[in-house]
Symmetry: C2
Subunit: 68 residues, 2 copies
């Protein structure tokens, strides 16, 4: 299985947002993360990096205009 | 292995950009896709959706201001 873990970089420290992410959808400034079990998390963040080997999604909070 | 295929939606038709994507990095409006073998592709596009089960990355060309 290729489910991934999503982290937000906060002050340099990665903070787990959601584990076992099955899909990620981008809607304007929001990201919608979903697991196989139907758990969903919507977050105002941008994708910084996705590593398909380590199953790691790194997000960045907020927009260029500042943090929310 | 969880390597993914990256597609750009063009006129509704998915067009393969790069297969066996191992990592994806976002740099401003550009995406840098890399394979395990060191093949790299830089594209001005945004991520629309990533499906970790079907190993499918769907991109959208251009920015809000128009296509490039």
């Amino acid at each position: 299985m290729c489910l991934s873990k999503a982290y937000v970089a906060r002050n340099g420290e990665p903070e787990l947002v959601l584990a076992e992410v099955a899909s990620l959808k981008v809607k304007d400034e929001k990201l919608l993360l979903s697991t196989l079990l139907g758990e969903q998390k919507e977050i105002v963040a941008r994708i910084r990096e996705i590593d398909f080997l380590t199953h790691r999604i790194t997000l960045e909070k907020g927009t260029k205009g500042g943090y929310r």
